[in-house]
Amino acid sequence: MIAAHLPALQVVVPLILAPICIIFRSATVGWVLMLAGSWSALAIALAILEQVTTGGTIVYALGDWAAPWGIEYRIDTLGAFVLVIVSAIAAVVSLYVKTSIEHEIPPVRRYLFHCMMLLCLSGLLGMTVTGDAFNLFVFLEISSLSTYVLISFGRDRRSLTAAYRYLIMGTVGATFYVIGVGMMYMMTGTLNMADLAAKVPEVADTRTIQAALAFLTVGLALKVAMFPLHLWLPNAYCYAPSAVTVFLAATATKVAIYAFIRVVFTVFGGVEVFEAFNVQGLLMVLAIAGMFAGSAVAIYQTNVKRLMAYSSVAQIGYMMLGISFGSVTGLAGGIIHLFNHAVTKGGIFMALGCIAYRLGSVNLDDMAGIGKKMPATMLAVVIGGLSLIGVPLTAGFISKWYLIRAALESDAWPIALLVLLSSLLAVIYVWRIVETAYFRQPSRVVEEMEPAPLSLLVPTYILIGAAVYFGIDATTTIDVAIAAAEGLLGAKP
């Protein structure tokens, strides 16, 4: 019985638990509810993945209102995969959150924090399960609004301006998305994604649909933080509380990329988007520009969280590059990197949170000599850094392999070379951190520091361990990604 309603439960469970946090006004209850919400979401997501891999795409009519007038939840392999990623990250973060917000959020406001995390989670999950274009906007805004609040919980007053800026840019992006949806509704008369996919090819030549695609992609690109629409990201990641940065870095942009893939390959799946609309070149250029700009700027940062934020911009460039190839290998590479980057960056930001917890700062200069005092934490940062570079036996290597393969298979060997060169930039900024942590003399503050508490280290190592595990035995992620890519690209009639 429950099994039939899993798609709805996936969204509803965290959504209901959120206001209950407010009723109880207690930090502990809030945390328990967050644990319950995220772990049950994970359980549901795994069950859904199981259902999808054995039974094919799940189609669920919300409230039994039939599509295309009712809102429909539609989950295919890619969707199920993203659900698992988001809920798994949320589950691990909920283990991490209790200790990490001790120094960052005053006790009286913690229940609000947990409430917002649950709302954000349900928004992200909703974006992933929905099969209705406007419904996606609604969930997009739910997750975005709660994100703005979450960012503003940061200790530094700059978190407020970061949240504000993200609000302005994010709302512009979402509004662009709505305009795009409106234009598509005008031409096809439906909002259901599957229905749109059937109806768009007939009207694909009209300027309205072309404008719609433009608005949709720009709006989503803003949420994805694709270069050059990434300006909100560095400050937002940098000044938010550690747990929020982990959660955001590992999920928000990933779900936005998922939405992007949905629009381009499912809704517009009947049209050869890359050929008909001539966007492939533009997308590739912007992706590569993002790869280099992100890595290059990262090298000069003194705040390590900010450094990693710019690194995320570069990594998002990799994902978009994979998507822009339009081949199974390329798309699979982008999807694999979605997963690999989520666990890698999540782990790195968790480790940085450990450092922030003990040190109160994540400035590179303050971290001098920290390698001796916090060996486990720095080891996590090093392993995460190696995964960002793409060293074998880490998850990053798998993604790089597929991206380069896709480039060579498309006879685009200059792009392959560019991907490799940008990995070298990653070596530079990772090694800056390594050298500061291990080669410089520790300050007195660092000398007297204790290593990170277990309650923070264990979740960190869960994610970093995943980054290593899925770098060695990547068959699960690869199979899912290739199945998803084939499903998306084979969706053309």
Partner: protein, 518 residues
């Protein structure tokens, strides 16, 4: 135990040992015993595999599938066995040597040193046993990363800078060239397995082959082919046992071993001969041989001189591979063994000199032979092997290399080999000659004796033979002792090995023959 199990155990043993080292770090003697025992076990395991491979078998183990259709696979074959053999054998010797050196030099963080050493050896053996290019690449990178803490062991600014160059060059070459070449190969032929005769047997274009081959050879930065050789002298900032084993044996040999393996099993000697894509690289190798020797002559720092000598000698092996003839390949493979023993002896001696007399420059070594006779005799033996004179093993590898080059018609390269022998005499042989036959330079002696006087009050400065250092302890008013006993034992074993190899070259040749017979 089945060969497959032995294979895996031989790679796992050093890792287990590493954990043991980490755990027993608090008690140095216990920790050192763990290292020794692990090294002995590892060599024993590797040794049992020799007869298996000699009989023609090629046991193979697939660990797990990393990508659909591509696994981490280990396969035994003669070239890999040779490399694993010398790596594991010389680990034992180096462990003995490290005991004397690290304690004599009062090095910090010794647990970290022994730990990463064991990990690096495990990676080297895994490279030796790789069954496909993916596996080789994985452990090649693991070797780079695990040797970084060893290179930067001192933790000083100089160590950091040296580490940057080391890592920078090795990672840049491996990511930009080797990885690209590897994936390109996979896209072209659909497999990365090492196959006799190569993967390109059904006629690939010479242009593509040429670029691909270049990517591989330059991608293997550990072979120190010019212009990507700078990491080797930069890595000399490491403690001498590191320089000795890793940069005279494991790391650089992993590099040239990979070059030979790629030449033999990815491209195949015939394909290379027919397309001629390796010719220009043979000349690059030849140029490296000469240029590195010339630079070595200008270096006063002993370790720097030996580093450039290593670069030169590595290009011997590369040259052997690039001329793409059977004898050239055999010569290159044998040179891996000969050079390993010869060079490690030289590095051990350099370290011994440093510990015993604090001298690092060649110009400071005049007359030292009289106070450190054992050290300098072994140094001479090592030098003669490098030069390639009988009765040292180095003669045979040079012989086959020259024959191989002549076979391919590259008479210029034969000349290069001869010329480099002369240059070796010029920059290497002068050292022991001056040590034995020249008078000590008074200014140098004064400089060091002042230093020596500073030490007179220290606890470690003891002249009494009761410490167990059996070699003659000469300390007149101020003097120098021989090296610590463990160091001397190690040096003597490797020097003796170089001599023994002269007589054992035959069996090695026979063992290696199957790699070039179709």
């Amino acid at each position: 135990m089945s060969p497959e199990a032995t294979l895996l155990l031989a790679m796992a043993a050093p890792l287990v040992g590493a954990i043991g080292i980490f755990v027993t770090g608090y008690e140095p003697n216990l920790r050192e015993s763990v290292t020794m025992v692990t090294a002995l076990i590892t060599f024993a395991l590797v040794a049992t595999l020799f007869p298996v491979v000699a009989s023609g078998a090629a046991p193979s183990v697939t660990l797990l599938e990393m990508f659909p259709g591509l696994s981490i696979t280990f396969t035994l074959e003669p070239l890999g066995m040779i490399f694993a053999g010398i790596a594991s054998f010389l680990w034992i010797i180096t462990s003995i040597y490290s005991l004397g050196y690290m304690r004599g030099h009062h090095e910090q963080n010794q647990t970290r040193f022994y730990f990463f050493f064991a990990v690096a050896i495990s990676a080297a053996i895994a490279i030796a046993f790789s069954g496909n290019m993916l596996t080789l690449f994985i452990f090649y990178e693991v070797l780079t990363i695990s040797t970084y803490p060893l290179v930067t062991h001192a933790g000083t600014e100089a160590a950091k800078k040296g580490g940057r160059i080391y890592l920078g060059i090795l990672i840049t070459t491996s990511i930009s060239f080797l990885l690209l070449g590897m994936i390109w190969t996979y896209v072209e032929v659909g497999t990365l397995d090492f196959k006799k005769g190569g993967l390109f047997t059904n006629g690939a274009g010479a242009g593509m082959l040429g670029i691909l081959f270049g990517l591989y050879i330059y991608g293997i930065g550990k072979a120190a082919l010019m212009p990507f050789h700078r990491w080797l002298p930069a890595a000399m900032v490491a403690p001498t046992p590191v320089s000795a084993l890793l940069h005279a044996v494991a790391v650089v040999k992993a590099g040239v071993f990979s070059v030979l393996k790629v030449t033999l099993y990815i491209f195949g000697l015939e394909t290379l001969r027919d397309s001629g894509v390796s010719d220009w690289l043979a000349y690059v190798a030849g140029a490296t041989v000469i240029i590195a020797s010339l630079v070595a002559m200008t270096k006063d720092n002993l370790k720097a001189r030996l580093a450039y000598s290593t670069i030169s000698q590595l290009s011997y092996v590369v040259l052997g591979g690039m001329v793409a003839t059977s004898l050239g390949m055999m010569g290159g493979a044998m040179h891996i063994v000969m050079h390993a023993f010869g060079k490690i002896t030289l590095f051990f001696c350099a370290g011994a000199i440093m510990v015993a007399s604090h001298r690092t420059e060649v110009s400071q070594l005049k007359g030292l032979g009289r106070t450190m006779p054992v050290t300098f005799i072994c140094f001479t033996i090592g030098t003669l092997s490098i030069i390639g004179l009988p009765p040292l093993g180095g003669l045979w590898s040079k012989w086959y290399l020259a024959l191989g080059a002549a076979d391919a018609g590259h008479l210029i390269l034969v000349g290069v080999l001869m010329l480099s022998s002369l240059l070796n005499i010029a920059y290497l042989l002068v050292i022991p000659v001056r040590a034995f036959f020249s008078e000590p330079d008074p200014d140098v002696e004064a400089q060091f004796n002042d230093h020596h006087d500073d030490h007179h009050g220290d606890e470690h400065h003891d002249h009494a033979p009761a410490t167990g250092a059996g070699a003659p302890v000469i300390c007149p008013a101020h003097g120098i002792h021989e090296a610590p006993l463990p160091c001397l034992i190690a040096i003597s074993i490797t020097a003796a090995g170089s001599i023994a190899l002269f007589f054992f070259a035959g069996p090695i040749f026979e063992f290696l023959k199957p790699i070039v017979t179709p």
